[in-house]
């Protein structure tokens, strides 16, 4: 290998990229756009959901029960009334997503310690927030129950806080979300998005830059010269890795400062983990470019593979340990599965390389294997 030739190739590549506005946009705007769009799209925090109360009882106790829901930041009162016909109307016109129905005799039965039924109607046409809404409703209802069980009267507005404390059950569980005390969705999603964007962009950039030389015929400059396959691949890999590391840092800053997800790890260690991951995914791009001949094919294969792998085979929604063996095997074929625990652990929890050395070593080996495979598949003397 001649470093001079690799430098000539990489230098040419950088010049071309800097002057090609379209490629430049693809290289630097696409990752940011993807991160921002997915970050907003995937966080399903439930806040200020339209809430309607249909109270057929109209007693202080029933009003107090309803007020407990509205006291949270999750729900916002849109309307209230006595007529059950309101339920259908507000849900259909999308004025509200939740209607709480309180039947007649709510107070009477409660004080008589008879079972009471209330109903929450959730707009089921919009499912994902619907589930979250149900969880919140049930939690608030359980809280209310705990109080009513000791003394229904005590829950009323005129009852003081002291009485409440007295009424607390003997074993009270307090749950805290570590690393994410406010249970903000973005904190859970952001590391996965770093994984996703850096699985998509490096292979896309590198495959497009190789394949467009195949399309134009510039690849023959290489094929008909004494440049070795390895030199050519390195000449493509180095600039792409450079660009993607710049991107990785920009994304990192965005997550930390724009989305406010606190970084708890060591900066050089996390940067090293990012570099290994980018090397592995960029190598994957080289592999794709050895196999395809048109830019369209390169773009479609890299994006679709990245989307499927990132969302289905990397532990995005559920940890890989609980996945089916077949899925787990597929996940091992892509670098995303190794990287996701690393980014979660290092970024959010502040763990060091010592904890994740197995995953990091796997990424390093992975890069080597992919590069070797790309080298094996790439031909200077082709069949067609």
């Amino acid at each position: 290998m001649t470093p001079k030739r690799v430098l000539a190739l990489a230098g040419k590549e950088v010049r071309e990229i800097l002057r090609d506005r379209l490629y430049l946009m693809l290289a630097f705007l696409l990752p940011i756009t993807l991160l921002v769009v997915f970050a907003y799209g995937m966080t399903s925090d439930v806040k200020n959901v339209g809430f309607v109360v249909v109270d057929e009882d109209q007693t202080p106790t029933s009003r107090d029960y309803a007020r407990q829901f509205l006291a949270s930041r999750h729900f916002r009162l849109v309307a209230s009334g006595q007529d059950p016909a309101l339920i259908d109307e507000v849900l259909r016109t999308e004025r509200a997503r939740v209607v709480l129905w309180i039947g007649p005799d709510f107070e009477k039965r409660l004080l008589a310690r008879q079972p009471v039924e209330v109903a929450a109607h959730i707009d089921g046409a919009v499912t994902p927030p619907g589930r979250t809404i149900r969880a919140y409703l049930e939690a608030i209802n359980a809280q209310a129950n705990a109080i009513y069980q000791t003394n229904p009267r005590l829950a009323q507005a005129d009852a003081g806080p002291d009485c409440c404390r007295q009424a607390a059950p003997p074993v009270r569980m307090e749950t805290r979300f570590l690393y994410n005390p406010e249970v903000r969705n973005i904190v859970m999603v952001a590391p996965s998005l770093l994984m996703l964007v850096l699985l998509l962009v490096p292979p896309l950039l590198i495959a497009v830059s190789v394949v467009r030389e195949k399309e134009s015929g510039a690849i023959y400059n290489i094929a008909s010269s004494t440049v070795s396959r390895f030199e050519f691949l390195l000449g493509k890999l180095l600039p792409a890795v450079m660009i993607c590391m710049i991107n990785a840092v920009v994304l990192w800053l965005l997550v930390a400062f724009y989305f406010g997800v606190a970084f708890r790890g060591s900066v050089p260690q996390f940067a090293f983990a990012l570099l290994l991951y980018v090397l592995a995914t960029a190598g994957l791009g080289l592999l794709v470019s050895a196999a395809v001949r048109t830019q369209q094919a390169a773009i479609i294969i890299t994006t679709i593979t990245a989307m499927i792998v990132a969302t289905q085979f990397a532990g995005f929604f559920a940890p890989l340990d609980t996945a089916e063996p077949a899925n787990r095997f597929l996940a091992r074929l892509f670098p995303a599965g190794y990287f996701l625990p690393v980014v979660r652990g290092m970024y959010l929890k502040g763990a060091g390389m010592g904890v994740y050395w197995v995953e990091l070593a796997a990424l390093a080996v992975y890069s080597g294997v992919v590069l070797w495979l790309a080298h094996a598949f790439f031909r200077k003397r082709t069949k067609a």
Partner: protein
């Protein structure tokens, strides 16, 4: 330079080479040898297998059968190919496509030098010499993507030569380049070969370039049809061309007797088999009568004639007779009553760049009008404006009676347009393509069927209705594209380089159809072409230069005007054309240009000019040339006019 290598050993030896792409056969039992120091040509239409052969030699394409040896080394694996790559340079097909558009001329050259590990002290002087020779030096900062076709082609050559290879392989370096740039390119290449003892393997689709090669192979459908020195190929054809003044010719009886007649503007060129002037003359006189004897001349056939004859013999196809002026354009009583196309001061700017500058011309119904010009002269932009694809910056255009600015849609229904890249749907069959285009123009079903049958008959496409367009040979594909542009029977037809890459027989058929459309149906046809032999067939020509129309006349009038200005055309044959050209230019023949392997000079007093030439060449120590008077061709006119305009433009901007 490896002077130790055995000089007698051929640089390239190809033996019974076979190559297929899945089921499609690209090369079949191809054999040829390229001796050291020669300019070797591969000539054939698109799809003949030229590129596959060149790539196999360059070591970038594997093959199944036979053997390819380069510098004596059998190229049968990637490893074997690597061993010779330091000694060769390969320029793939496509004008400047292998270069890097975002990089400047200099950066492109530097990149190739570094890629080839040329030491800086060697690369720098070599780069300067090559840039100076190709006259690219003043533009070294210009990004490649902003170069003209001719400049891209020369830059490609410089980049291929920067590591001083012994063998260069150039795949269609002149395709899509105008005649002036093409001529320039061949001169530079000839000089380089002479100076550096280079061996060059070059392919071309232009038959008229054949005479520039030391040795050549005529290729068709994956086979070599003939191989050898051009003179020998012509000699081996054992035939004569009998030229007959067109007004003395009798098309009917002649065509019955002779299978291959080429009707040019004022002469009929009849291909007569037999290796004897007298019997050829007699054979023609037997048909047209002895009285025409004074209007008749016997010549050696040109390579194109030989190639057509070979193709004819192989495929048994009939040659469409081409009639230049044999059927003059019908002039209506009110000849100038209405133009089919009327361009007035058409102008189009792209930013500060004026692509078309006040172009004015008119085309009558029934007329074939040729738009000529170098790459980037503005021809395609004119067509785009007249077809309503591109709005003009200023100026007026009327097409088929409608103002193209206001009646965009109406114009589109009255015109047919065939773009450079035959826009067919290659996955559809011939019939499906035709019916699709009929549907686009809103023809009802019965009419569409009827028109499709008419187009099939016109284009000779019968029997191919159910073939996928992608499986058609170039010639048929081109006629299908024409058919699609004709399906709604437009009164005006625009053709942008319609015959690029089509074999000579295919081109002849295509022109026969154009002539039928113009003469019998009264269709107005506007076309662009880089083939000067096709320019001869147009009724009228407009020559464009830097966005302006600089001449507008019939081919005959253009020739007559040049003859009046510059005199008689002399063809000078000599053993060392490059050196002779330099000597003649120095001796007061600034207009001397290389033409094939000879030199063309114009002079008012031929006898005096001949004397001065002899003297000049003698002083330069060159052998005595053979000088013959020739009729002017459109290529002479084109090259002369464009060179004069370029010189004037260069004088204005020092």
């Amino acid at each position: 330079m490896a002077s130790s290598a055995n000089a007698a050993e051929p640089v390239v030896a190809v033996e019974r080479l076979g190559k297929r792409y899945r089921r499609a056969v690209a090369l079949q039992a191809v054999s040829l040898t390229v001796p050291r120091g020669q300019l070797y040509g591969l000539i054939g239409p698109d799809g003949a297998g030229k590129s596959s052969l060149l790539k196999a030699v360059a070591g970038v394409l594997s093959y199944e059968e036979g053997a390819v040896r380069v510098f004596g080394k059998l190229i049968d694996s990637e490893r074997a190919a690597e061993d010779v790559k330091a000694r060769l340079g390969f320029m793939p097909q496509g004008l400047g496509l292998n270069l890097y558009g975002e990089l400047s001329i200099e950066e492109n050259v530097d990149f190739f030098a570094r890629l080839r590990l040329v030491p800086a002290h060697e690369a720098a002087p070599r780069k300067e010499r090559l840039l100076a020779m190709t006259r690219l030096a003043p533009y070294r900062e210009r990004p490649m993507k902003n170069l003209s076709g001719g400049m891209k082609q020369k830059l490609g050559l410089v980049c291929t030569l920067i590591h001083a290879p012994e063998l260069i392989i150039l795949d269609e370096p002149t395709t899509g380049v105008d005649p002036v740039s093409r001529r320039d390119f061949w001169v530079i290449l000839a000089q380089l070969i002479e100076e550096h003892r280079l061996t060059a393997l070059v392919s071309t689709a232009y038959l008229d370039e054949a005479s520039r090669f030391d040795r050549l192979a005529l290729m068709h459908a994956g086979r070599v049809m003939a191989e050898g020195e051009p003179e020998r190929l012509v000699r081996d054809a054992r035939a004569r061309i009998v030229e007959l003044q067109a007004d003395a010719a009798q098309p009917g009886p002649l065509e019955q007797r002779f299978a291959q007649i080429d009707w040019r503007a004022n002469v009929a060129r009849i291909y007569v088999e037999g290796d004897d002037d007298d019997s050829a003359r007699r054979a023609v006189l037997d048909v047209v009568g002895p009285a025409t004897a004074p209007h008749l001349a016997v010549r050696q056939p040109e390579l194109e004639d030989v190639f057509v004859a070979l193709l004819r013999a192989q495929d048994g196809v009939a040659i469409e007779p081409l009639r230049g002026l044999s059927a003059p354009a019908p002039r209506h009583a009110s000849a100038d009553a209405e133009h089919a196309i009327d361009a007035r001061e058409l102008t189009r700017s792209f930013g500060a760049f004026r692509a078309v500058d006040a172009a004015s011309f008119g085309v009558h119904y029934g007329e074939i009008f040729g738009l000529l010009g170098a790459n980037g002269a503005g021809k395609t932009t004119v067509i785009k404006m007249l077809t309503g694809i591109l709005p003009p910056s200023s100026g007026l255009g009327r097409v088929a009676g409608a103002d193209m600015r206001r009646a965009g849609q109406a114009i589109k229904e009255r015109i047919g347009y065939m773009s450079q890249a035959f826009s067919l749907y290659t996955d559809l069959t011939v019939m499906e393509n035709l019916l699709l285009f009929a549907g686009v123009y809103g023809l009802e079903r019965r009419l569409a069927q009827e028109r499709a049958r008419w187009v099939l008959a016109l284009g000779g496409l019968e029997g191919h209705e159910d073939r996928a367009a992608s499986s058609l040979p170039m010639g048929l594909r081109q006629r299908l594209a024409l058919g699609c542009a004709l399906i709604h029977q437009p009164r005006v037809l625009f053709l942008d380089e319609p015959t690029s890459g089509v074999d000579p027989i295919g081109r002849r058929r295509f022109w026969a159809i154009l002539q039928e459309l113009a003469r019998e149906q009264g269709v107005a046809i506007l076309l662009t072409t880089h083939y000067m032999s096709e320019a001869e067939l147009c009724d009228r020509l407009a020559l464009m230069f830097a966005g302006r129309v600089v001449a507008d006349a019939t081919p005959a009038a253009m020739k007559a005007q040049l003859a009046a200005e510059q005199g008689q055309l002399l063809d000078v044959s000599t053993a060392a054309p490059a050196a002779a050209l330099a000597a003649m230019r120095a001796a007061g023949f600034p207009g001397a240009v290389l033409h094939g392997r000879g030199i063309h000079v114009m002079a008012h007093d031929p006898r005096d000019a001949q004397e001065r030439m002899r003297a000049a060449l003698e002083r330069a120590g060159l052998p005595e040339p053979l000088v013959a008077r020739r009729e002017l061709s459109m290529e002479d006119v084109f090259v002369h006019r464009i060179l004069a305009l370029e010189a004037a433009a260069a004088a204005r901007t020092p």
